[in-house]
């Protein structure tokens, strides 16, 4: 099976939101058409319009009747208690050893830069290790770490200089470079971007479960980068480039949704102990939030994290587009487990630039 990658990228703007998602035209009538159609047809047509509009309103208001659980935990540092915290957090979601037993689990952290100068840019090695150890205790058949950094083709350098390599060696964990893996073609399950198929790394076929281990960061194009945007690192750079230009050209928000729908991660965990604010995802400054956020529905996880960062999820284009399609983002449809959000919100500042006002008023 062959795919012409270059012909399939959409032409949407970056940060596009649902405004450019094609909507079905409403049926409508005019006075002249009313006289032609007759009273009954007019009433039927009006009813259809009202019904359609009402259904649309209802769908949006209920987010497609979707709901999800998200756990928020306080975590003061990257110390040994992380595994216990994670176990408690997953327990709140009804996830226990049965979830992992016998499974091959791919842990997908966010590793973007050799982190000597900026450890707050990457998912902390202690988080990766704690998650891996927990799943191993739960008798997972295998746990391996996989990432495809978007700005560094030399992923080994990123791992070495961010302390991940030494952690992997101590823990006996395998690392798979998703940028240079063998590839297979998978149908785009959602299709917002107009890309019909994605090339995905072979490692996804090996894994029964994919866990997005994201970092809590602002992002100068997308507003925020959390568990869903983290999935950009799954698609191989040999197919999409460094950075992954095709996805940017197709629209970041749309690409985030399409990849989430296609890859279907089973769990999202966000490292918000020390995140990044300002000029994320790479050049920002550390922001301590002392939080872990986790859940099985990634839009709900990201929406909760957005609130904790002082954002309205409706102002983040990819979250607004995900609402009712991939999951709920409204707080009334998200059951908050663990710590209540009140008192935990830490305002993450955005880059000081006029283009950021789309994500939050100054």
């Amino acid at each position: 099976m062959t795919r012409d990658l270059s012909s399939e990228s959409g032409r949407s703007e970056e940060n596009s939101g649902p405004s450019d998602v094609p909507e079905r035209r409403q049926s409508g009538t005019t006075c002249s058409s009313r006289s032609r159609l007759g009273r009954r047809a007019f009433l039927a047509g009006t009813g259809l319009v009202v019904g359609t509009a009402g259904a649309r309103w209802l769908w949006r208001h209920t987010e497609g009747f979707q709901s999800a659980d998200v756990t928020v935990l306080k975590a003061q540092s990257y110390d040994a208690r992380l595994e216990v915290l994670l176990r408690e957090g997953l327990d709140e979601l009804g996830i226990d050893a049965r979830w992992a037993r016998g499974k091959s689990i791919l842990l997908k952290p966010n590793l973007v830069v050799p982190a000597k100068e900026s450890p707050h840019a990457n998912t902390h090695p202690a988080i990766i290790c704690a998650v891996a150890e927990l799943f191993r205790r739960w008798d997972a058949r295998e746990v391996f770490v996989a990432e495809g950094p978007a700005y560094y083709r030399d992923s080994r350098l990123v791992l070495d200089e961010s302390g991940v390599t030494s952690m992997l060696e101590r823990a006996g964990l395998e690392y798979v470079d998703l940028n240079h893996d063998d590839v297979f073609s998978a149908e785009n399950r959602l299709g917002f971007t107009g890309i019909s198929h994605f090339y995905l790394p072979r490692a996804l076929r090996r894994a029964d479960l994919v866990v997005s281990l994201a970092k809590m960061k602002t992002h100068h194009w997308a507003g925020l980068t959390l568990s869903m945007k983290n999935l950009f690192g799954v698609v191989p750079g040999i197919c999409y480039g460094w950075p992954k230009s095709v996805l940017h050209a197709a629209g970041i928000a749309k690409s985030v949704l399409d990849l989430t729908a296609t890859i279907r991660p089973a769990l999202g965990i966000i490292d918000g102990i020390v995140g990044m604010e300002g000029d994320g995802p790479i050049m920002g400054t550390p922001k301590r939030a002392n939080l872990l956020v986790m859940g099985t529905n990634l839009p709900a996880v990201d929406a909760t994290a957005a609130r904790l960062m002082g954002f309205d999820p409706q102002r983040i284009p990819y979250l607004r587009a995900a609402s009712g399609r991939l999951g709920p983002i409204c707080s009334r449809h998200i059951r908050q487990c663990g710590e209540p959000l009140q008192g935990l919100v830490r305002r993450f500042e955005l880059l000081d630039h006029p283009t950021m006002r789309v994500f939050r008023d100054a």
């Binding site: 990228s9 100068e117 350098l157 040999i238 197919c239 460094w242 095709v246």
Partner: protein
């Protein structure tokens, strides 16, 4: 006495995929880039019958999967993207043969250009977005590595003076950060300068070999690499960084030691084919000749 290069050659020969090429993974199928690099590495390490045979078999395979328009995709059955085309040209040229394949590939490269935009008046993107280099994926923006490799391959094919090559050189110069080093191709975004990286800097210096670009740019790139490579032992960064320094006769005296340590860190059988190939290329005194850089120097002297 067996050197690491001998062991690496043996490992590379064993790692050949089911097709007459090499993959990104030891157990993976053949892809254009690692196949070209591995073949070049075998030729660079020893121009013996084994190297010639394996390199020619790889070159024949590349010729088989070459598209009708002259481009090469990633692998058999993956016709796009085509950023690997320059690597195939370099292998074919190193074998001194495959004239038709080289000509058609070069014509395709000359005919393709990355997407451009008017220069960013807002200043968010600091590089000149109107210069057309080469993209990773067709119909997308230019980036450093595909542009540098395209320039290198096209210069190898004698297109030094072609407007596309001159434009590619202009793009490489425009994308430098802090007067001389390079990264994936972003100078600065929203006023923040992206950090330089060793492999793209090395590729840029290779592509610019024996050109008359601003001397400060070259000096800055070499200075960055001389400092950065002291601590880097990952194959990709170390190898391309050293090849870039070689292109400007700036090879550090410790280079061979660094290369040996890089191999030792993974062990020859534990390294992926592309990693071994890159290290072998950086170790060999024949590489610049195979890539055409020696010829660039000779023509620039004249």
């Amino acid at each position: 006495m067996t050197t690491w290069i001998d062991s690496a050659r043996d490992a590379l020969v064993r790692q050949r995929a089911n097709e007459p090429g090499w993959g990104y993974r030891v157990d993976g199928r053949a892809f254009v880039e690692p196949t070209s690099l591995a073949s070049l590495a075998l030729l660079a390490s020893a121009r013996d019958p084994v190297s010639e045979r394996l390199a020619r078999e790889a070159a024949d395979w590349l010729a088989e999967i070459q598209r009708q328009d002259g481009a090469l995709g990633l692998a058999a059955g993956i016709p796009t993207p085509c950023w690997g085309t320059p690597y195939a040209i370099l292998l074919w040229a190193a074998l001194g043969d495959y004239q038709t394949q080289r000509r058609e590939a070069a014509e395709w490269l000359l005919g393709v250009a990355a997407k451009t935009h008017p220069p960013d008046a807002t200043g968010v993107i600091s590089h000149d977005t109107s210069i057309a280099g080469w993209p990773w994926v067709e119909n997308t923006h230019s980036w450093l590595e595909p542009t540098a490799m395209a320039v290198l391959a096209l210069r190898r094919e004698g297109h030094e003076c072609h407007p596309r090559v001159r434009e590619g050189i202009r793009l490489i110069c425009d994308r430098s950060v802090r007067s001389g080093a390079w990264n994936f191709g972003n100078r600065a975004v929203f006023g923040s300068t992206a950090p330089p990286q060793a492999a793209p800097t090395g590729m840029a210096l290779l592509a610019l070999a024996a050109t008359d670009v601003e001397a400060g740019l070259i000096e800055g790139g070499c200075r960055y690499l001389r400092n950065a490579l002291r601590r880097m032992r990952t194959p990709r960064s170390l190898a391309w960084g050293l090849m870039g320094l070689d292109a400007w006769r700036e090879r550090p005296p410790e280079a061979d030691t660094w290369l040996a340590k890089s191999v030792a860190a993974a062990g020859p059988s534990g390294s992926a084919p592309a990693d071994l190939a890159q290290l072998m290329l950086a170790a060999s005194g024949q590489t610049l000749g195979l890539l055409g850089v020696d010829a660039f120097r000779r023509s620039s002297v004249r």
